[in-house]
Symmetry: D2
């Protein structure tokens, strides 16, 4: 069984055992997810880009926890909507590879629509 599927089951069990499905509407979960995303942003808000590469060990630990929180809500919301997160992601990467041909966009951060 693939990894995201294992996570899906474990997180679903977690919610069910706590009777939390009633709170886990996709709408609410999208809010919870962005709250976790902003806890990630908070770590970096006053930091230079350069410093953001080399976090002190305790900060790095905290950032790892924020990333985990985001993944948990991501897997949960996909589950509540019956979206296959693995498939959706592989499909999106393929589409990104087509939209941003390496030879055209090399070294540029412009949005693909500007090409």
């Amino acid at each position: 069984m693939n990894e995201l599927e294992q996570l899906r089951i474990r997180i679903s069990d977690f919610a069910m055992q706590r009777d939390w499905n009633q709170f886990h509407s996709p709408k609410n979960l999208s809010m919870a997810l962005i709250v976790e995303a902003s806890e990630l942003v908070e770590h970096f808000q006053w930091m230079s880009e350069k410093d953001s590469f080399s976090l002190p060990k305790d900060k790095l630990e905290e950032v790892g926890e924020e990333l985990a929180d985001i993944l948990v809500y991501l897997v949960r919301i996909a589950d509540q909507l019956d979206i296959d997160l693995s498939n959706a992601t592989r499909k999106k990467i393929k589409s990104n590879e087509a939209k941003y041909p390496a030879d055209m966009v090399r070294g540029s951060s412009k949005k693909y629509t500007e090409y």
Copy 2:
């Protein structure tokens, strides 16, 4: 090889071939991630919780793409910081299971600090 590790390699190659690592500081990636998270939120902002469970097919497709975008940036930022996303997530879930004992929190959305 596990799935998140496969994604990590593929997304890393994608960035390298486009010479985009220069833009992919953890600081910048945290911004990109929250922008994608808010595109998810946008789908649900005027929708009832109930309706958010049963999206029309085209909306569902779009939401799947937003979820994929979030996962891509999540994997990328973990990679840039040398964080093992699988481990971090399993550790966090374990810690959540301890913080929110099923018997104490059943049916309540209060934060664990309030217990």
Copy 3:
């Protein structure tokens, strides 16, 4: 002198006296602003829409502080970019009034592009 202009001056003095302008790039301030916005979202994430209208007094106080934090960063970022926030807002409202004619959009939450 108008109110937003008074706020602008007071907040600018506050930053200058603390030598904080060095951190207040528009990029960083946009991050700080969204972090405050998400603290607002956090108050409502597990709450029904109905309950979100009638907050208990201590929650209401906290929400008021989040709104204030957002306004402070909003005024600051406009200041750092020499944007006249009053003018920009009046202009935007006028444009919204034209984009969403009352007779066409009454009772609908569709985006104006769908009309």
Copy 4:
């Protein structure tokens, strides 16, 4: 009449004429606000801090519109909750002035809790 109060009335009329109060729960408005905040963040995500100070004219115009959108939702949510945004902001600034004494925090971006 002060400026934020004028905005409050105008925006309230705007919503009422379109029968949009039904969508404007504080919960939904917090989502709409963070979506606008992230459109602001999007402008800066791949930009250096330095470049974020000197935007080209068309970008500056767009950023002004995002700031306006944020202010509109901020005023709206305060209105729906009967929060006096002017008072809340003046109170918060006063509290910030006390929490971050200029002599102690000069030139440092640490959070006040670390002092």
